[in-house]
């Protein structure tokens, strides 16, 4: 309690301090910028509207996560999602943006170091437009972790993780690829963030799930995974639709301005990859388990969206379908692999969806870019070097995100603990972490399940 009050006090003091700062700014009202380039009006509108849609993906993430987990943790999950967006926005305002898109003499290949708190020169319409669009992306990376640690991670721990991810971990890799860092220097590309956002989020999710260990009851003594069905398939799939909708903002808005008609191709590619992934997973589970699996198909659609994200502007529709097909298989196989082979308990499939498919997206771009847009050409069209750089980018994103993830969750595990007590987990985190039930007017039950023998 003592610590909390201190944090509050600090926050208040910090903010009051900020107010005292005299208004230094570049172009805070935008008149000069607009005069220079009247086309900016359309750019701003495009990027902001797309940014709004990306923000709305937070609703989608929360629905998928809560729908695919148990009712006794539903309120905790909604709270985590509200919190990670809010903490993420504040952390990215205070620090993250400065690290990702700031500049630093000499060290710029590694990270940036200017524009903290959007003060001074950063009080500028162009900078703040960019901040807004990048902030919703940063929050997306953070929220991916929520899914894989759900139903057992302490809320306080997750607050800290969200702050560190959006302030440091995400911005550093982001700087390397999008902020003029060393990977960008080598020629690595990632149109809308298969790697920067999704695989970083996915590998952090892997680190978190690994250090937390599986939920109680997830694995039988012999290691066979048990099914722990989600409490509302309806809300989970609603979340898939919301994510799909928001993803158009994610991918199309990543042109960052309005003067490319290629956005139509981006929208088409995004759709086709997701659709192909969904249909693939539907048929694959149908063939494999005898019935088309609903939650897996929903996951696959998201996987298809993740996979097309890096290359959406540079590949063509037919290859998008192919990217989606692979993505769908990757989700089905990936979830199985994590669950049955390496026994990492990822309640909502975040690792397979965002981690595996984020990596696949980077590679697919390196393979399939067809050269019709911006001159980006992949292996299939003869550019092996580019594919090599993309493969490097995959390795780097894994090393960075998984590594820092282990450190982050490792330190917290040692110092404050990352997992709720077994009693709390059994009773549900809604009671334990928030002293409430999400559904007090419905009689609850837990499926009596036993594993197939």
């Amino acid at each position: 309690m003592y610590v909390r009050k201190n944090i509050l006090a600090l926050l208040v003091v910090a903010c009051l301090g900020l107010c005292a700062v005299p208004v230094l700014a570049a172009d805070p009202d935008g008149t000069a910028t607009l005069e220079e380039d009247p086309g900016k009006a359309l750019d701003f509108i495009w990027v902001l509207v797309c940014g709004f849609m990306v923000m709305f993906m937070q609703a989608g993430f929360s629905m998928v996560e809560t729908g695919f987990t148990r009712a006794k943790n539903a309120a905790n999950i909604m709270m985590k999602n509200l919190m990670d967006f809010s903490v993420g926005a504040l952390a990215y305002w205070a620090v993250g943006f400065a690290v990702m898109y700031g500049t630093m003499e000499g060290m710029n290949w590694l990270f940036g170091w200017s524009g903290f708190f959007l003060l001074g020169d950063a009080y500028d319409v162009t900078t703040i437009e960019s901040w807004f669009f990048q902030m919703v992306f940063a929050a997306t990376a953070a929220t991916i972790v929520s899914g894989s640690v759900s139903e057992r991670c302490k809320f306080s721990t997750y607050v800290i993780a969200s702050a560190v991810i959006t302030a440091v971990i995400y911005p550093v890799y982001g700087h390397w690829v999008w902020g003029g860092g060393w990977l960008a220097g080598l020629g690595a590309l990632d149109f809308a963030g298969s790697g920067v956002v999704h695989s970083v989020g996915g590998w952090l999710a892997l680190a978190g799930a690994l250090l937390l260990g599986p939920r109680i009851g997830k694995y039988a003594k012999d290691g066979t995974p048990r099914a722990i069905p989600g409490h509302s398939v309806t809300l989970g799939i609603l979340g898939v639709f919301v994510l799909w909708f928001g993803w158009y903002g994610f991918n199309c808005g990543s042109t960052l301005n309005a003067d490319s008609l290629r956005i139509a191709v981006i929208a088409a590619n995004t759709t086709l990859s997701a659709a192909a992934a969904l249909v693939t997973a539907m048929l694959a589970t149908w063939a494999w388990h005898g019935k088309p699996d609903v939650s897996m198909s929903g996951n696959a659609a998201i996987g298809g969206l993740v996979a097309i994200t890096a290359g959406c502007a540079w590949v063509n529709p037919q290859l998008s379908v192919l990217i989606g097909i692979v993505a769908g298989l990757l989700v089905v196989v990936g979830v199985w692999f994590l669950d049955w082979v390496i026994h990492v308990d990822d309640p909502v499939g975040a690792i397979a969806v965002h981690g595996f498919n984020g990596a696949w997206g980077l590679l697919a771009l390196g393979l399939f870019a067809d050269g019709t847009y911006g001159g980006v050409t992949g292996l299939l069209y003869g550019n092996a070097g580019f594919f090599g750089v993309q493969a490097l980018s995959v390795a780097v994103s894994f090393a960075w995100a998984f590594g820092t993830g282990l450190i982050l969750f490792g330190i917290m595990k040692a110092v404050i603990g990352i997992r709720v007590s077994a009693a709390e987990e059994l009773q549900g985190l809604d009671i334990g972490e928030h002293g409430m039930s999400a559904y007090p007017n419905f009689v609850a039950t837990e499926h009596a399940t036993e594993v197939k023998r």
Binding site: D339, G349, E450
Partner: protein, 113 residues
């Protein structure tokens, strides 16, 4: 007086209700339960892990009836609830010592209807 507890298939509930109405037995208390007996579980799956939901949703009807009605009620329930498939359910008869109607305080068989 006896309490008749019948655990039946939910899909047969409407039929049983109507059949009981037809012999004038209207009063009852109903609840949703899960049960298992000889019936084997339904195979379900969640994200590739198959599992057997080894309990089935059942509907439980509880009726407190005068002793002389017991046989008739049992027969009627049986007839209406039967499909011949495993899982049709069970009927239990339990002794009841007193019945009180909350509204009036009436006791015994007078309180039953």
């Amino acid at each position: 007086m006896k309490k008749i507890e019948a655990v039946i298939r939910p899909t047969k509930f409407e039929d049983v209700k109507s059949a009981l109405e037809a012999i004038g037995m209207v009063s009852m208390t109903v609840s949703e339960v899960k049960g298992r007996g000889e019936q084997k579980g339904v195979r379900q799956q969640w994200r590739g892990a198959e599992y057997v939901a080894d309990f089935f949703p059942k509907t439980r009807i509880e009726m407190v009836v005068p002793d002389e009605k017991v046989d008739e009620v049992i027969a009627v329930i049986r007839e209406a609830a039967q499909t011949g498939q495993i899982g049709d359910g069970k009927i239990f008869v339990i002794p009841v010592e007193r019945v009180v109607r909350v509204r009036t305080g009436e006791e015994g068989e007078a309180a039953l209807r």
